[in-house]
Amino acid sequence: MPDTEPGRTKALWALPPVAALTLVFLYPLALVVWQSITPEDGGHSTAPYTQVFAEASFRDALTTTVLIAVGATVGALLLGLALSLVIAFVPFPGGKALSRFIDIFLAFPSFLITLALLFLYGTVGMANGLWTDVTGAAHGPLDFLHTPWGVLLAEVTYFTPFVMRPLLAAFSQVETGQVEAAASLGARPWRIVRKVILPEALPSLAAGGALVLVLCLNEFGIVLFTGAKDVVTLPMLVYTKAILDGDYTGACVVAVVNIALSVALYALYRTVMSRTGGGGAGSLTGGAPHRAGA
């Protein structure tokens, strides 16, 4: 090794960033947990948890969050798989530009999608406008944006690129020779996808799916912009309790539940990743969207 510093000095170099992280991230998180077991009337107990768990609004939020997250993940996986398969294996001119476009998509905030959907499918949006123009009806048929379906559509749209990045990276590793050989032996496209391509891409698909699931559980911007009273997810409940109701203890309880859910899933994701290598999915945004010099 070129440097002769003893091990302890090396470890000391890691201290400043770790200290900074502790101050602005770990210490605040610890205080959230502490506050969640500190009822308003003093002392420390699990009473805030019993109280929050008994609220119907909390149980509804938990169910809504999990259902929307699972639905959006499945949707993003299916759509991402279909689109990536076409870009990688049924190439067309401009396909490269499209994957560049997807990188840009990843750099934009999620709430822009909800804003756009308001213009596309909102009560006065493009689709309904088209309908009223054509049929002369007073109202368009579409009015789903303020329901869980609106959130679901926005999340599928926003998170599909997160699945496509690692998938496209994995697909570029698949030997074209194998695909050609299978095809010349008379395998139908669907069979090639199932038997040759998918097994290679499975780790990336799993990693992308797990990441999207965590991000969906934590999504706030899309739900906030939807502005529907009956679509309340856990992050939304944290916001409502803390900022609108001023109930910090309650907010902290919901926050702890949300953290536990997401961090457990994220730990699972990291384990899957380190087991399989995960193809190009090693990066947070699924294969570093702005990978430099590589």
Partner: protein, 265 residues
């Protein structure tokens, strides 16, 4: 090539664009269209106007844009410093300790941004640290949220770096600090600028933690966009969103130019 017959290929491509255009291309286009619209009741905007942009140039929106850019710049620089430092330090550590450091620095990704905001609010509204209601608390939140991305990019870049450069420099008698400054960091420069661009973009669009924390005199653009759409001014919101996207793209473009220049060296 998976599909060989020409008609079948055409069918697949048609299907692809039927999915791709409404889902990905249309939303961004529609925001741009709406930002120029005076009203929209039919299939297409019924009139064009620049009024929404004129409002931006006069009102609070310009302030919000400046606030966002300042926040994003500060947060990116802080995150890049912390992330690079941590990644460089982690590289020298043993396997176990490195894993621990990885887990620590990537943890903010798994924690919901709203909760990061809440935690800063809880922690810094009491002694010994009173930051509640200051711009610093917003910048701190953004830094916490984007540091993971900086750390991840630099770690990945370090793993790809050929150790021969560093070793030969050290073999020729260069001290560690000199090797770091004259050999390692220049080699990392493309990744660092890319990470900076990513951090900037993410911070520009950050809404969740900001909604928990922002003081009235430090409202970043996403909060402004939410305020506009919440009171029903969808077109003004769209114009603000275009300003947000344009600024982000400009910075990403600028960063990628630095990158290409650096790679010529």
């Amino acid at each position: 090539m998976l599909v060989h017959s020409r008609p079948a290929r055409r069918a697949v491509h048609t299907l692809f664009f039927l999915l791709f255009v409404p889902v990905f291309a249309l939303p961004l286009l529609v925001i741009v269209a709406a930002s120029f619209a005076s009203s929209w009741s039919g299939a297409l905007p019924s009139g064009t106007t620049l009024a929404h942009y004129r409002d931006i140039a006069q009102g609070d929106a310009l302030n919000a844009l400046l606030t966002s850019v300042l926040t994003a710049l500060t947060a990116s620089v802080a995150a890049l410093t912390a992330g690079t430092w941590a990644a460089l330090a982690a590289e020298k550590l043993g396997r176990r300790t490195r894993r621990l450091l990885d887990a620590l620095f990537l943890l903010p990704v798994a924690v919901p941004s709203v909760v990061v905001g809440l935690s800063l609010l809880v922690a810094f509204s009491r002694p010994p640290f009173l930051l509640n209601g200051t711009p610093q608390i917003v910048i701190t939140a953004h830094t916490v949220l984007v540091t993971a991305f900086a750390y991840q990019s630099v770690t990945a870049a370090l793993a790809r770096l050929d150790p021969a450069y560093e070793q030969s420099a050290a073999g020729l008698g260069a001290r560690p600090a000199y090797v770091l400054w004259r050999v390692k960091l220049p080699l990392l420069l493309p990744s660092l600028t890319a990470a900076a661009g990513l951090c900037f973009a993410l911070s520009m669009g950050e809404l969740s933690a900001t909604m928990m924390l922002y003081p009235p005199d430090w409202t970043p653009l996403p909060v402004q966009i939410f305020a506009a759409t919440d009171r029903g001014s969808l077109f003004a919101g769209a114009a603000l969103a275009v300003a947000l996207m344009a600024t982000t793209l400009l910075v990403l473009l600028g960063v990628s130019r630095i990158r290409t220049k650096a790679s010529y060296r």
